[in-house]
């Protein structure tokens, strides 16, 4: 079962946990106090770059019958759509720029270039996902209702096609998200039992689809006349590229090993500090340079984003240094790795969990994608006290050392079991 006592899991005492929370509150305050003209200039510049790119792409694509123009236009349009989706849409709608008090760059009024209406996305993402992050049964973003991403969820035969479902989801990611958000919205508004055409959410969704599909697949091709076919493929390709990239970024932020899952029990009595801790333990980063960070909407800093979803994205790099330092101080894991490594870990989980539980070796207390405080419960003494201070060096020993030790213990236990099995065979053979 997933984590039900986050203090015990993190190897922190009550006082430590509160101190950890206060340090993060201080980070928030510092960033809020120092937001200013430079940050505003950053988002304005981003908007200018994105719109210019899109405009340029549309112009270049007028000549899309010629292969180089098709390639250049499609590349520009893909980049424009990625920036629009990640650094602009996602972050603006999180309210990261609301402090500017600018009605044109505001979470309330922003609409994005995706099939799903932004209002429905905000409800499902900002509210459901960011409030109930990684709580099994409450955060529908764990697998988006399509994939089984943790063995806390029971296996069903349909999970066998998971490898295929994953590829389809990646290619049509904006549609997957849109449908997922629509369901969440209908659920919240109690519209689930209405006939299809009577639901206001369905109508809102329908209007948005008509506009999006109409623009990319009817109007623009029609406007380019003889080059309609190549414009259409260019638009489709740009959407596909954007889908694949956002899918990879999201999956690397949520599903590599070390991104923990939680139980409702943990959530119900959670303090502010524990909320921070859940966001931190539940997310994962990937290493990125400046360009890749920008193209991911700074979601390579998923951990920081989950702790401070409404602070400006351009400050996440600086926040991450402070969060990293806190992890050192409290001996906590800071889950990160290269993009490739993080994605492969997520991919491994997807494929592994398509199989029935009886084929899996680990339990949900000590699996790579989900673990719990029970993993550390050995003998009579609760781990929190036993692991607090290293008796030899006097250093603070927390979750990070505990995980490392648990790994060694597990490895030794396996070795021992193997040795015994061997010995057993030998005696049987004799």
């Amino acid at each position: 079962m997933a984590i039900s006592d986050i203090k015990e899991f993190a190897h922190l005492t009550e006082a430590d946990m509160e101190a950890f929370g206060r340090e993060l509150d201080a980070v928030r305050r510092d960033i809020e106090d120092s937001r200013g003209a430079k940050d505003a200039a950053y988002i304005r510049r981003t908007i200018r770059v994105q719109r210019s790119l899109e405009l340029g792409a549309r112009i270049v694509l007028l000549g899309s019958k010629y292969r180089p123009a098709w390639l250049a236009g499609t590349a520009m349009l893909s980049v424009a759509k990625i920036i629009e989706n990640m650094e602009l849409g996602h972050n603006v709608m999180h309210g990261q720029w609301d402090w500017m008090n600018d009605p044109e760059i505001h979470s309330v009024s922003w609409e994005w270039d995706q099939t799903g209406p932004s209002e429905q996305w905000k409800r499902a993402h900002n509210y459901s996902h960011h409030t109930y992050t990684n709580i099994v049964g409450m955060d529908d973003d764990i697998g988006f209702g399509i994939l089984r991403m943790t063995r806390d969820e029971p296996w069903k035969p349909i999970n066998l096609i998971q490898p295929l479902a994953n590829v389809l989801l990646a290619m049509t990611f904006e549609w997957g998200i849109a449908l997922h958000d629509l369901d969440a919205k209908k659920d919240l508004d109690g519209e689930t039992n209405l006939p299809f055409w009577k639901s206001a959410s369905n109508r809102q969704f329908g209007r948005k689809i008509a506009r999006q599909v109409g623009k990319d697949f009817v109007l623009f091709p029609a406007l380019t006349g003889p080059a309609w076919k190549s414009t259409l493929t260019a638009n489709a390709t740009a959407n596909l590229v954007r889908n694949l990239w956002t899918y990879v970024v999201i999956f690397c932020g949520h599903f590599p090993d070390g991104a923990e899952k939680f139980t409702i029990g943990q959530f119900e009595n959670e303090t502010r500090a524990e909320w921070y801790m859940r966001q931190m333990l539940g997310s994962a980063n990937f290493e990125a340079g400046k360009v890749m960070a920008f193209m991911s909407g700074n979601l390579c800093y998923q951990i920081e984003h989950h702790m401070f979803p409404d602070l400006p994205s351009n400050r996440y790099a600086e926040i991450s240094e402070r969060v990293h330092a806190l992890c050192e101080k409290y001996d906590l894991p800071y889950t990160t790795g290269s993009l490739g490594k993080q994605y492969l870990l997520a991919l491994r989980t997807i494929h592994k969990l398509s199989l029935p539980d009886s084929w899996l070796r680990a339990t949900s207390d000590n699996a790579p994608e989900t673990s719990s405080e029970r993993r550390f419960r050995t003998g009579e003494v609760p781990a929190v006290h036993a692991l607090r201070i290293d008796p030899m060096t006097g250093e603070r020993r927390g979750l990070r050392s505990a995980i490392a030790e648990a790994r060694v213990t597990l490895r030794n236990a396996k070795k021992e079991a193997k040795r015994q099995a061997k010995a057993m065979r030998r005696t049987q053979g004799e």
């Binding site: 809020e32 200013g36 008090n101 900002n126 502010r272």
Partner: protein, 371 residues
Amino acid sequence: MDLKKWLEAPAADVSAPKRPKLNMLRGAFTRITTPLLPDDYLHLANPLWSARELRGRVVEVKQETATAVTLVIQPGWGFNFDYKPGQYIGIGLHLGGRWHWRSYSLTSPPNWDEKRISITVKAMPEGFLSSHLVGGVPQGTIVRLAAPKGNFALPTPPPEKILFITAGSGITPVISMLRALDRHGELSDTVHIHSAPTEDEVMFADELSALAEAHPQFHSHIQLTRSDGKFALASLDELYPDWRTRETWACGPASLLEEIERVWKHEGLEDKLHLERFEISRADTSGKGGTVTFAKSDRSTEVDGATSLLEAGENVGVQMPFGCRMGICQTCVVPLTAGHVIDLRSGKQHGEGDRIQTCISAAAGDCTLDL
């Protein structure tokens, strides 16, 4: 649905009044630029080409006195010049990455010829924005604008006999009325009593004396309070014995307006009196809270400084948008139309014109939400 409506539909919620062709064109183009508007691209070239909100450009900055300036603003698309003299506008200035929002009286008379408006701003010792405006706004600065509004305005046709009583920056809405009357040649029997500390601090002094010269029926009385003392309302009987027959507009510091209100009430003349208060309201940070008014639902409630506005609204049965209730999801954001609130997490203040998260904000004095 008719064709015109269909064409306008995609940009309908930000349509420009009196520009039907433009609205249709924008609506049509919106189908290609969706989910953005054509303006979102156009204003890469010219920031005034935005119709998501009114914008303007400061084209001239005139020093009125040592502590007051007039900003002449050329509004962008969609501004309605059909306002009434005496009304005010909202203006937003971009400072330190943030838009700051205030209201000021229009000092320009309504006109269609020049397509320009003006406001006159006096620096207030604690007025952050007014000090900045008077300290210097570069020509060419882009500002946000809100449509003119307010009931402190001259009716059409204007009354035959008028009395204006102003003090300090209270003259700004009245100068707009005087200019409008002058422009239409209707500046008939009008008395204007204006108080300022010294001669140097009388705004529009030359213009007032020029008006008095040009119109024999216009009397301009300037009271210099530092040398002559406060204008005594009791002296009205002696100076302008027919004052009771005049329709009166008064604007200035609260103490002056209270006194006027008392005298007019005493004389049974409330119907003839129009007042405009624009003392800067300040946030009450004592933690006592205040009265929260929900404008659209027409409800209000008294709250302490620790109750979130979301709870306050729910307690009196207002349909409040809500989400995480901890300030992370932005589902509960609504515009603050008047007063001040305080962010319970950071202690930061928000004022009129800000959009606020109701779940983590509490009243700092009386405030009004657009709900």
